[in-house]
Structures are given as structure tokens and as C-alpha cells.
Symmetry: C2
Subunit: 127 residues, 2 copies
Amino acid sequence: MSVSSWSRGGGEEMCPYRLVLEHVTSRWGVLILIALAERSYRFSELRRAIGEVSRVSEKMLSQTLQTLERDGLVHRDAKPVIPPRVDYSLTDLGREAAEQVKALAAWTERRMDDVQQARREYDEARL
Amino acid sequence: MSVSSWSRGGGEEMCPYRLVLEHVTSRWGVLILIALAERSYRFSELRRAIGEVSRVSEKMLSQTLQTLERDGLVHRDAKPVIPPRVDYSLTDLGREAAEQVKALAAWTERRMDDVQQARREYDEARL
DNA sequence: CTGCATCCTCAGGGATACTG
DNA sequence: CAGTATCCCTGAGGATGCAG
């Protein structure tokens, strides 16, 4: 992986590859992948689970789920019953993505102390 | 790593840990970490390197560099010469972060075909 | 060259109401 | 319950100009 191995095409639009990366690392994408890595969730259930961390609107949740579904990372299982029941889970591809994201999140958690220490020093240095 | 292991504190603000994750996974944070993982760069040089992939304004570049520096991931070496020369490189902590990000980017690159295939099927299914 | 300050735009994203 | 549609607003981010 190197930056220069990326687009290099004179055009203006991003390479599709960057887009997937943005979907996966997006604010809600990260949380959805981590949540679904544990188990499948129904829509509102997922919203509550994520809400424990950071409030997410219905709009953003369904929007992000659609993006991830289109990328083949999330599987949407809509059962034709009344009231409606829709279960979301990860595909194999999604599980792989979730592993990467979880690794990143785990690293952040591990190194949190070092980061906060660095911040204190940085802030103190410019008082 | 599980979502529920995150904030859980009745408050409204994000846990500082989420913030670091957002810095690292941010649009420009990702590109900066990957670029600096290869070698150190001067400001404009870094801007051009990243620009090959996606145009970045001076403002966003310096802004993102500052947050990453504050988080202790990037080292800023300003040489007191005329004209000014400032070199940016990764700290040990930053190199660790870059490894995680590169792993994620590499995965995306590897699985790009599967994703595009999934997209085609998804789009085709709703014509 | 390396930025900081300013202005301005536009799209990400929240709140609300409504539907199947 | 699981969304879609609509309105609206904040803030990310670009463009420009200036300073050290």
C-alpha cells in the first residue's frame, strides 16, 4: 500500500476503491460493522445498540445500511410478516471488513492512554 | 471489541476514544498516515503526494496534520530557515496506527472486485 | 515555503411527519 | 416495526488573501 498506487488518472472523481474505504470507515459504518460482527440485529434493535455509543438517526442508519448492503458487506433479510421484521447481518465479505475495523478500533483502545498523554503535552506546550 | 464496551455513560459527548478513531479514519487522516508511512514529507510535497489521489486544500491538510500531531501520531519538525522548511513524519505511535490503516486499505484493495460485483448485482436487482 | 484568517458554499446529517 | 419523504441547519471543507 502506497498513496501513489492509487488513482493517478487525470479525472476528478475518486477511484471506486477510495469510496469503499470511506463507506467502511464512515462514522456510522464503523459502528454498524462492529455491532453486526457480534450478532445479527433487527433495525430498531441495531439503532438502540449503536445509540448506546452515539445517537444515530433512522435516516442515517438506513442510509448507511443500504450503502453497506450495496457493497456486499451487509445482508438484509426482510421477513414478510406483520408487523414487519428485518434482520441485518454480515456477509462473509462483511465479516472480513469488520475484522479490519475491529483491529483498528482495538488498537485505538489499547493506545488511548498514549494518545491522551500526547495531547496533554501538546496542549501544555502552548499555554 | 464490542459496541457495548464503549461509552455507556449517560452523557451526550463521545468518549475520547471514538474521537481518535475518527481522526485516524477521517478522509485526510487516512491518506496522510499512508503517505507518511512510506517516508517523511515536507508540507507542499505531502500535499502533492496526496493530491495524486484526491485534491486536498492547504487548510484541511494543516488542520488534519495538527490533530494528528496533537494525538501524538505525527511529528512536526520545523526548521528555522528562510524560506521555512517543515518536515512531517510518523511517531512510533503513528507508525502503529498507519499499519492498521494500511491493513484496512489493503483489504479494500484486495476485495475491490467482490465489492463491485456485489454492486452490479444489487443495482441490477432493482431496475 | 508554510501556514493562519476569512468568507462562502454545499452536502451530511438531524428532526419531524407520514406510509405500508 | 421499518422505513421513506421533507425540511432545515450546522459544519466540513474549498478559495482566496495575507504574514512570517
